[in-house]
Symmetry: C2
Subunit: 235 residues, 2 copies
C-alpha cells in the first residue's frame, strides 16, 4: 500500500474518531441530565434528554456511513479494517446507552407525579455518575489507545453491579412495607436496571478498546455482578 492511500485512510479514521467523541460527549450529557431530571423533579430537563436522543441516533448513522465509505474507498486490511469494525461496535453501544438515558427520562415524567420513595433517587444518581465516569474514561482510553485505562473501567463495573444489587433489595423492602410504594418502586427499579445495563455496555466498549489496542479480547472472564436473578427475598 502506498503512502498516499495510507494517509487518506488515516484522515478518514481521524474524522470518524472525532464523530465518536462527539457522540460520546452527547451520551455522557444525556446520562447526567436524565438522573438530574429525576432528583430535581424537572420534567423540562427530561424532555430535553428525549429530544437530544435524535441527535445521538443521527450521529450513529453518520458514523456507519463514513465507515462503510472508508471500507469501500480504501479497502483496508488487518489492523486498519479491525479499527473500523470496532468503531461500528462502539457507535452501536453508544446508541444503546443513549436509548437507556432516554428511557430514564421518560419515566421521570411519570415519577414526578408520585410520592417520592425516600433516598432512592440519590442512590440512582450516584450509580449514574459512576457509569458516566466509566464512559468518559473508556472514550479517553479509545483516543489515547490506553489499554490499561480500559482494563480499569472493566474492573469498576463490579461496583455499579453492587450498587444495583443493593438497590434491588431496597426496593423489594419498600414495596413490602407499603403497597403505595409498589408502582413508584417498579419505575425506580426500571431506572436502576437501565443504569446497570449502561454500565455493562460501557464495559463492552472498554473490552473493544482493549481488543483494538492489544489485538486480544480480555481472556479472563468478566466478573458478573448482577446477582438479583438469585434473590429470593429482600433479606
Amino acid at each position: 500500500m502506498n503512502e498516499h492511500i495510507s494517509s487518506a485512510y488515516d484522515r478518514d479514521l481521524e474524522g470518524i474518531t472525532t464523530l465518536i467523541m462527539k457522540m460520546g460527549g452527547q451520551v455522557e450529557e444525556a446520562i447526567l441530565k436524565a438522573v438530574k431530571s429525576l432528583t430535581d423533579r424537572d420534567t423540562e430537563l427530561a424532555e430535553e434528554v428525549r429530544e437530544g436522543d435524535k441527535s445521538i441516533d443521527a450521529l450513529e448513522i453518520q458514523i456507519n456511513d463514513e465507515a462503510a465509505r472508508t471500507i469501500a474507498l480504501r479497502a483496508p486490511v488487518s489492523k486498519d479494517l479491525r479499527s473500523l469494525l470496532t468503531v461500528l461496535r462502539l457507535a452501536a453501544s453508544l446508541e444503546r446507552i443513549g436509548d437507556y438515558a432516554k428511557n430514564i427520562a421518560k419515566r421521570t415524567s411519570v415519577l414526578v407525579e408520585m410520592n417520592p420513595v425516600s433516598g432512592s433517587d440519590v442512590a440512582l444518581r450516584r450509580m449514574a455518575r459512576e457509569v458516566e465516569a466509566m464512559l468518559k474514561d473508556t472514550l479517553d482510553a479509545y483516543v489515547r489507545g490506553d489499554a490499561e485505562l480500559a482494563e480499569d473501567v472493566r474492573q469498576r463495573d463490579q461496583e455499579v453491579d453492587q450498587m444495583y444489587n443493593a438497590l434491588f433489595r431496597e426496593f423489594l423492602t419498600f414495596m413490602m412495607e407499603d403497597p403505595r410504594n409498589i408502582t413508584p418502586c417498579m419505575h425506580l427499579h426500571f431506572m436502576a436496571k437501565n443504569i446497570e445495563r449502561m454500565g455493562d455496555l460501557t464495559t463492552n466498549m472498554a473490552e473493544q478498546v482493549i481488543y483494538l489496542v492489544t489485538g486480544d479480547m480480555p481472556d479472563e472472564a468478566r466478573p458478573k455482578g448482577d446477582k438479583t436473578a438469585y434473590v429470593t427475598d429482600a433479606g
Copy 2:
C-alpha cells in the same frame, strides 16, 4: 470486477448466511426452551439453555471473523459491502436475543422455589412463542430476500408490546393484593421485559432485512408499544 472474484464473494456470503441460519435456529430453540423450563418448572432444561448460550456466542465470533475475512479478501463495495455489514448487525442482535433467553433461564431456577403466581407463566409463554415466530419469519425473510414478510414482522411487534403492557399491569395488581407476590412478580416481570426486548430486537432485524432488500430503512416511524413508562397505577 471479474467473474472469478465476484463468485468467490458469493460463496463467502453463502457460507456466512448458513452460519446466521444456524445461529438463528439455536436462538429460536433457546427462547422456547427458556419459557418451557419456567412453565414446566424444569431446572435441568433451564441449565441446558444457559449452557447452550456458549455455542450461540461462539457462532457470533465465527460470523464476525468470516465477514472481516471476506471484506479483507474480496474488497466488496456498494450492495455487497452493505450485505456484509448487515450480516454483522443481524449476528449482534441474535447474540443479544440469546442473552435474554439465558437471563430468563437463570430466573427460572429461582422462581421454581417460590409459590406460583396464577396464570402468569402461561401468558409469558404465549408472548415468547409469538416472538419466536417473528424471529423465524425474519430469518426466512432474510434468506429469501422477502421485504414484505419482514414488514409483516415489524407490524406484529405491537401485539407483543400489548401483551407486555397487560402483564405489567397484572403484576402490579398481584403485588398490591398480597405482599408475598412481590418477589416472584419482580422476577416474572423481568422475564416479561426480556421477552418484550427480544421482540424489539427481532423487529430491528426485520428492519435490517428490509434495508438489505430495498436499500432503504423503513421511513414510517415504528409504532412504539411499551406504554408502561406512563403507567401510574394498576388500573
